[in-house]
């Protein structure tokens, strides 16, 4: 609550960034880090040029090419964008990437282009470079900016008009959000992952449950998660309608950050640590809403429908739309089952898939690849299945290759790719064809999300790998 001596993590970060506050107006919030990619920025730069404005703080801005880039034919730094040797075959994609390069050069913004060792999905490279730090405000023209909240940063997605606003002013007018505590007590059982946890949370509160709120994930099960697991949980906050999700910084956070290229060092590290330790929510601080879950009751979750809240334990059957009391929920379920070509009562484990995708800003980190590889080691991808493994960044790809994970994937019959958003949203050539069905470690099972007419079941990396082996939705314990 504003004015209370006891404040939540979100309120502390907010208060520390208010440039200007006036009655009846949104607060003007300072932005510490602005991440850019090629899809949502070109019109913002055009706006700057039209008004003869500059980028106020290029030194707080960083760009990468992730949404459009192909995941094959990336030969290394300097891979050509044009000409017969370019892996980019779609001229419209090429124009968009060219626009980002031109804009970054003109306005003096650091860019990690296709083929660069630090290129990758914008939400994977921020934490990896140590730019994502506790207590920061971070924005990006991408709804999965919520990912960065895993390190205790207030991070949220914005539209292109807001991208232009941040470029020009390094601030954003924002209405103070409400706060929601999501407390997960107990311990996740063996074989249950951060992905299962966030799918269960979204199923519980719904796609609109977090609207207008910042979510703070708390409790023993959250504290026990690795940084990779926390990034997965915060990533999907937007799927529950919340622009931002947060986990309080702790020793896991500090150990993750120490020594990364942009993490403070020496005396600055000590000063930063002192500040970061003041950030966690005060005892006695009040949230506008509180939700609790018991981790011990969770099992692997998968989605059956066309929004991320339409999820159930893998050990369930496709629901009967008639079982939903709310008419809008019932209609949505009927539409979803028609689109997904599923019948009520079908066991989820009996659903056959032809495609498995491991990757994305949700599950494209090294820990996710290790988890998938540990299931695939010594096994084969079913002949009926095409499996794509797309690292979240080129650094993740390099690390996986040092650990020999690429050899496990290729020996199993999976495709080992370069970094990008890839089949999460099908803006590059990695897409589902009409009628194809995937088990995907990404974040959205919307109609056509992975390619027009494609059908998506959201799963964890472990379930994705087991599904690739059996050809139908499965957990590692089923093998």
């Amino acid at each position: 609550m504003a004015g209370s001596p006891h404040r939540t993590l979100a309120e502390k970060i907010w208060d520390a960034h208010v440039v200007r506050s006036a009655e009846g107006e949104p607060d003007l919030l300072y932005i510490d880090l602005h991440l850019l990619h090629e899809v949502t920025s070109p019109q913002a730069f055009d706006g700057l040029r039209a008004a003869s404005r500059k980028v106020r703080r290029p030194d707080l801005t960083i760009a990468t090419e992730d949404h459009n880039v192909p995941t094959t034919g990336i030969t290394g730094p300097g891979v050509p964008l044009t000409g017969p040797d370019s892996p980019v075959t779609d001229p419209v994609s090429r124009t968009q990437v060219e626009a980002l390069r031109k804009n970054c050069a003109e306005f003096g913004i650091r860019l990690h282009p296709m083929g660069d060792a630090d290129q990758g999905i914008v939400h994977v490279i921020g934490p990896q470079l140590g730019l994502t730090q506790p207590g920061l405000t971070i924005v990006c023209g991408d709804s999965h900016t919520s990912t960065h909240g895993a390190l205790g940063a207030l991070a949220f997605g914005i539209g292109t008009s807001e991208v232009e606003h941040v470029l020009a002013t390094q601030t954003l007018p924002q209405v103070r959000p409400k706060t929601m505590a999501i407390t997960v007590d107990g311990a996740l059982p063996e074989g249950v992952t951060a992905k299962d946890l966030i799918l269960a949370i979204i199923a519980k509160i719904g796609t609109g449950g977090g609207q207008g709120h910042v979510l703070e994930y708390r409790g023993a099960a959250i504290r026990a998660l690795s940084m990779a697991g926390r990034l997965t949980v915060c990533n999907m906050s937007i799927e529950a309608g919340a622009r931002a999700g947060l986990v309080a910084p702790d020793e896991v956070t500090f150990a993750y950050l120490e020594g990364r290229p942009h993490a403070p060092s020496g005396a600055a590290w000590e000063a930063a640590l002192d500040y970061w330790r003041t950030l966690p929510t005060d005892a006695g601080a009040a949230f506008d809403r509180e939700v609790t879950l018991d981790a011990a009751t969770l099992t692997p979750y998968v989605t059956w429908g066309t929004n991320p809240a339409q999820a159930l334990p893998l050990a369930s059957a496709v629901p009967d739309p008639g079982s939903f009391a709310d008419p809008a929920t019932r209609t949505a379920a009927e539409r979803a089952l028609t689109y997904m070509d599923l019948k009520p009562g079908t066991e989820l484990r009996d659903i056959a898939v032809d495609t498995v995708f491991v990757g994305s800003c949700t599950n494209g980190r090294i820990e996710d690849l290790r988890a998938a590889a540990s299931v695939l080691r010594g096994r084969r991808v079913a002949p009926s299945v095409r499996m794509l493994v797309v690292p979240g960044s080129m650094a993740v790809r390099a690390q996986a290759e040092r650990e020999g994970l690429d050899a496990i994937f290729t020996a199993a019959g999976a495709d080992w790719r370069s970094a990008g958003c890839s089949m999460c949203l099908g803006m590059n050539p990695d897409k589902l064809s009409p009628g194809q069905r995937s088990a995907s470690t990404s974040n959205r099972n919307f109609e056509g999300r992975q390619g027009k007419g494609g059908r998506t079941h959201l799963v964890s990396p472990e379930v994705a790998a087991a599904t690739a082996v059996t050809g139908h939705l499965a957990a590692p314990a089923d093998l």
């Binding site: 880090l33 796609t207 609207q211 209609t331 949203l425």
Partner: protein, 197 residues
């Protein structure tokens, strides 16, 4: 931004909830580098179905979309707003909106109107019964009126957003009036904060 004071037009009912921005404009249409021309991608997959509501001739030329709850969830793509305005929509009425979509809409001159579920259903019923029903979205008086159908539904919108929309003001211009505050804030930032350069 084109000012929005009051708009009168015909409405089209979209009886679906959770209309995510991937449905409003699929990713394959996001590759343009301009702000124009996105109307052709509006609801691209759904418009392939001849019976989809936007393909029904009685709703041709409608400028107000009346949709189910949680309209505009998912991706932050402002292209969803540009697709709606490029197609000719000036307002969307729904019981709930995705937060990012709602913010984007008010930046691009598309008015998102939150009405209770019952009022949304009543409007949908009215325009289905008589597609020529005139609907007035009056931002000045914060009310949606369909006089012929006997509907008069007040809505809430904060004073600041209403003022900005009615004046058609550019947010950046407003913020730059306070550039000295921004500079002063920058001088107070701790030295340990990261820079990208």
């Amino acid at each position: 931004m084109e000012p929005f004071v009051s708009h009168s037009g015909r409405a089209v009912p979209l009886r679906r909830s959770n209309v995510d921005t991937d449905q409003i404009i699929p990713a394959e249409y996001l590759k343009r580098v301009s702000r124009t021309g996105f109307g052709q991608g509006l609801f691209a997959a759904w418009r392939e179905d001849p019976s989809f509501v936007l393909n029904q001739p009685q709703y041709a030329g409608a400028t107000i979309l009346v949709a189910g709850a949680d309209f505009g969830t998912g991706s932050s793509r402002e292209h969803a707003v540009w697709a709606l305005t490029d197609y000719g929509f000036r307002a969307v009425i729904a019981p709930r909106f995705g937060d990012i979509f709602r913010g984007n809409a008010t930046k691009a001159g598309l008015l998102p109107v939150v009405l209770p579920e019952a009022a949304v259903t009543a409007l949908q019923d009215a325009v289905e019964a008589e597609p020529a029903t005139e609907v007035v979205v009056d931002l000045d008086n914060r009310v949606v009126v369909a006089e012929a159908a006997g509907i008069k539904a007040p809505f809430e919108i904060d004073d600041y957003t209403r003022w900005r929309l009615m004046e058609g003001l550019d947010d950046i211009g407003l913020t730059l009036r306070h550039v000295d505050d921004i500079t002063a804030f920058e001088h107070s930032r701790p030295a340990f904060l990261p820079v990208t350069g």
